[in-house]
């Protein structure tokens, strides 16, 4: 991202869950967000969520182009491009965009994930038209030269230094992703490998822009104190004149069956506290055996959602093997995702002992399943969390943007609480059996340097 926070991979777990949770739950589940939707002739999809609690509006544009859409050998180009979108256009000098946003007291930023790139501004509603004018201008009008891209390349290499190279657990995460996916581009880091960032050319960047930045590859989401009809009119005025482009199909190489478990062990002199994680390839809402996705969300809450979940209770509280432990599952990706477990051992406890305790929990789950009581409590928490998510203006914009850029529909988002509510014990047990296949896992272990070898 342009500022201190880029890229989805760094998103803390709470963002992860927030991004999957709709905002409003009414007892009948008749409506959730109640957004208004619209599409321009050039294919730009528009979602408007009204929220009149404050005179503020969040304006976001999401492109269906992320790191996993990069050409081979050009890792990091989607994120590099995100930075360059803040440079000049045919009608605006470099830096002018941010100066205008700042001058109206707006906040702005951008982010890149494997599946999308997004840009947003939050401003008072009277400035919405200006934001649209600026955003539409840079959708196709960006001007790139080597004088512009070279300093930014250095900035991105420094960003990589801060985020990844200075951080052993981030370095291990890169290695683990590369081991988790043999063939699918999710194996590549969003920020890119340093040697590939160094070699991305002006022509590469221009080609990426011309391929993906188009109204028919974008979703506009506006949330806040606005009248949807006025938003549609403004969007037609500013985004309407931009011509659609022929888009390539969004086809990524897919994973072959995993026939052997993988384990990546990294030792680093900077590590004082070991950590362990294991992930199983798992379906997402839109990929693989996606009928399991909602059951897996509930299962993730039962087994790993906080201090009363199975993993924490058994390994952190009862056997006291780990300092902390949990599980995660993020079904929002366009392609195959992972269901993961993690822990940090208590001092003096062997990693293998805690790992065995995790295995025991998984075996127990596969043998005995979950209980009706666990199911009810987890579902209530998930559905309640959707009410808390309404305490926000930009939250719904994020949810719709991410969903629509990753293969879901407005109806999918609207139906989320209903689908969570419908999950049964049998469905969870079937989903667990489908995913927790020992041969389809990748384990990452971070350890201090061997004694006597401090480098």
């Amino acid at each position: 991202m342009k500022d201190g926070f880029t890229m989805v991979p760094g998103w803390p777990a709470w963002v992860l869950s927030l991004a999957l949770i709709p905002l409003l739950v009414v007892p009948s589940f008749a409506q959730v967000f109640n957004p208004r939707t619209f599409e321009l002739d050039n294919g730009l999809q528009i979602v408007v969520i009204e929220n009149h609690r404050a005179p503020v509006v969040t304006h976001m544009i999401w492109y269906r182009a992320g790191a996993a859409d990069e050409p081979a050998g050009k890792s990091g180009i989607a994120h590099y491009f995100e930075h360059l979108m803040f440079k000049g256009t045919k009608t605006r000098a470099p830096g002018e965009f941010s100066e205008i946003v700042a001058s109206v007291g707006g906040r702005e930023n951008a982010f890149t994930s494997q599946d999308y790139t997004g840009y947003f501004q939050t401003v008072a509603p009277q400035h919405l038209a200006t934001m649209m004018e600026l955003e539409a201008d840079r959708m196709t009008g960006l001007v790139l030269t080597s004088e512009i891209i070279e300093p930014e390349r250095k900035v991105i290499l420094e960003e990589r230094g801060s985020r990844t190279d200075n951080n052993p657990s981030a370095l291990l995460s890169e290695q683990v992703a590369a081991a988790t996916y043999l063939n699918h581009p999710y194996r590549l880091p969003i920020i890119g490998w340093a040697h590939e960032i160094e070699n991305i050319s002006l022509a590469d960047l221009e080609a990426f822009y011309k391929t993906w930045y188009a109204p028919n590859n974008a979703v506009l989401v506006v949330s806040g104190d606005v009248d949807p009809d006025e938003v549609f009119q403004l969007a037609r005025k500013y985004y309407g004149p931009i011509a659609a482009r022929d888009l390539p199909p969004r086809i990524r190489p897919s994973e072959p069956p995993q026939r052997a478990p993988r384990e990546v062990v990294m030792r680093d002199a900077r590590v004082e506290q070991p950590s362990w994680s294991r992930r199983y390839l798992a379906p997402s809402y839109t990929s693989g055996a996606s009928e399991h996705a909602y059951a897996l969300e509930v299962l993730s809450e039962i087994i790993g959602g906080g201090t009363t979940a199975r993993i924490y209770r058994s390994i952190v509280v009862e056997s006291a093997l780990a300092a902390s432990a949990g599980a995660w599952y993020s079904p929002g990706s366009l392609d195959l995702t992972t269901f993961g477990f993690w822990f940090s051992p208590r001092p003096g406890v062997k990693i293998s002992d805690v790992e065995a305790a995790i295995d025991e929990q998984i075996s127990k789950l596969l043998a005995d399943g979950v209980t009706e009581d666990e199911l009810d409590r987890a579902k209530r928490r998930l559905i309640d969390s959707a009410i808390f998510a309404r305490d926000s203006v930009s939250g719904p914009a994020r949810i719709f943007g991410a969903a629509l850029a990753s293969g879901q529909t407005v109806d999918d988002v609207e139906a989320w609480p209903k689908r969570i509510q419908a999950v049964t014990v049998e469905e969870i047990n079937a989903a667990a059996r489908a995913v927790f296949n020992p041969t389809a896992s990748t384990t990452g272990i971070l350890l201090p340097a061997e004694p006597g070898n401090k480098s």
């Binding site: 201190g4 926070f5 880029t6 890229m7 989805v8 991979p9 760094g10 998103w11 777990a13 963002v15 609690r53 404050a54 503020v56 969040t58 830096g95 700042a102 109206v104 007291g105 707006g106 906040r107 702005e108 982010f111 994930s113 947003f120 939050t122 070279e150 250095k154 900035v155 420094e158 230094g161 801060s162 190279d165 951080n167 657990s169 981030a170 995460s173 890169e174 683990v176 992703a177 004082e272 506290q273 994680s277 009363t308 952190v316 509280v317 006291a320 300092a323 902390s324 995660w328 993020s330 195959l336 995702t337 208590r346 009410i387 808390f388 305490d391 926000s392 203006v393 994020r398 480098s455």
Partner: protein, 450 residues
């Protein structure tokens, strides 16, 4: 999928956006609610969602930890929700989880506080669990050891984090022998030494009605809140024990301290004496800092170091007024070969603004942004209740949130340039570099690589 990677990063992705409170003045209606028992809370009543959010705070935090037992306040903050009254840790946590109640505590250098958030239907249960946590914490041995292990694991995990090293080094050099020199969460040794008595002593001394500060936002009427205030906080002792943290001027002015680490990138922290929150020039300094290094994509430091030269991904400055000291701080992450240039560019901006001031155009833009963006800070109910508490803690007055933009608007070019001359001092900048910097004139070098 990408979400599972890089778990170590805690980047605040969507730190912005969202607000419930209008940007314009007179939009925020705060009610002063006083219970029968004399407990005061500030309330922003909002019935549009079935949610109530409360922030509460007791002055006196980690800086009051006894020497050798640093980390006590922080450890208490991890333990109050780990069992209270008849409920052991798992029973207490299950009540929270099953009723979707969020309860958390935290200790900063100067304060001990907490946050409670619940749905209206679970409101009474939520406040009752908070009452138990504050007045009857159990500190069961199993829970104490578990939280101690978590804190120690966290300390170990951050031990070699370049930013943490830079901060630790900066604070210990700047405030020698002062409580602010000591890490808020303690050290491995001090945390290991904390006893059950230390934990209980902190609770007895600090958690009291006399200095309690409360901010509430959401679905509750003043009458209901009055009752809950007495029920929740009424059993606390009347008075906290007095404490004193001596005021201190930052030491080590002008030092350049290098902590030698074979890292690919250097982390730089710099700072000097700042302004206390009640300094009459505080708002002028706030505007000046925005121009210097506070604006996200528009400051002088951003422009010189990132935009023009690509030397750093992030570079920034900020004011940090505390109870007993005030700092003007900044930071950057930059490649080892560019550290000396980056530090020189920071000093040059410090010197240039001091000597020549800022321009009217810079001033106008900074003020416009600070005023226009103020409303965006009220991200959600919790952010608003946090503001209600912060305003009371600083004695800024119940009208402050509606007056603050006028205070910014009144700042003149002369004000800003005067405060620049008064405070900014390039020779007094203390610089800490963690990494393997080239060509830097260090006053001290600390070698940690074996």
């Amino acid at each position: 999928m990408s979400l599972s990677l890089m778990r170590g990063l805690r980047a605040p992705v969507f730190a912005l956006a969202i607000l419930l409170v209008p940007v314009s003045a007179q939009a925020i209606e705060i009610q002063r609610v006083i219970s029968k028992g004399g407990i005061e809370a500030w309330l922003v009543e909002d019935h549009s969602l079935p949610i109530i959010s409360m922030r509460f705070l007791f002055p006196g935090g980690a800086a009051t930890d006894p020497i050798g037992r640093q980390g006590t306040a922080n450890m208490v903050s991890g333990l109050l929700d780990e069992g209270a009254g008849d409920l052991d840790s798992q029973a207490f946590q299950s009540r929270l989880a099953d009723e979707s109640i969020s309860l958390s505590f935290n200790a900063s250098r100067d304060n001990f506080g907490g946050n409670l958030r619940a749905l209206t239907r679970n409101r009474d249960e939520a406040f009752d669990l908070l009452r138990l946590a504050l007045t009857q914490p159990r500190f069961d041995p199993g829970a104490v050891e578990r939280i101690r292990a978590q804190i120690l694991a966290g300390i170990a995990a951050r031990k070699n984090d370049p930013n943490q090293i830079a901060q630790r080094t900066f604070w210990s050099a700047t405030f020698p022998d002062h409580p602010y020199s000591r890490p808020r969460e303690g050290t491995a040794e001090s945390v290991a030494a904390i006893t059950d008595v230390d934990l209980r002593t902190f609770v007895t001394r600090r958690l009291a009605r006399s200095e309690l500060i409360v901010g509430v936002v959401g679905d509750i009427t003043p009458d209901d809140l009055r009752v809950l205030l007495d029920q929740t906080f009424g059993d606390l002792p009347e008075r906290a024990e007095a404490y004193t943290i001596p005021k201190m001027e930052p030491a080590a002015a002008g030092d350049v301290i290098v902590v030698q680490k074979k890292n690919p990138q250097s982390r730089v922290v710099f700072g000097q004496k700042g302004l206390y929150r009640d300094d009459p020039d505080y708002y002028s300094a706030l505007v000046l800092n925005h121009i210097l290094g506070g604006g996200s994509f528009t400051s002088r430091l951003y422009d010189e170091i990132r935009e023009k030269r690509g030397l750093a991904y992030s570079v920034f400055s900020y004011l940090l007024p505390m109870d007993s000291a005030a700092l003007w701080l900044g930071g950057a992450g930059t490649e080892n070969a560019a550290v000396s240039v980056s530090v020189e560019l920071v000093r040059n901006q410090w010197a240039s603004i001091r000597a020549f001031g800022v321009t009217q155009d810079e001033l106008d833009k900074a003020k416009a942004n600070l005023i226009g963006s103020f409303g965006l800070r009220f991200e959600n109910s919790a952010a608003i209740s946090g503001m209600l508490v912060a305003v009371q803690r600083r004695d800024l007055g119940i009208e402050f949130l509606n007056e603050r933009n006028d205070l910014i608007a009144q700042v003149t070019l002369e004000d800003v340039n005067l405060v620049a001359k008064r405070v900014l001092d390039p020779a007094a900048l203390t610089v800490v570099v963690v990494g393997d910097p080239e060509n830097i004139d260090a006053t001290h070098t600390i070698r940690e690589d074996g």
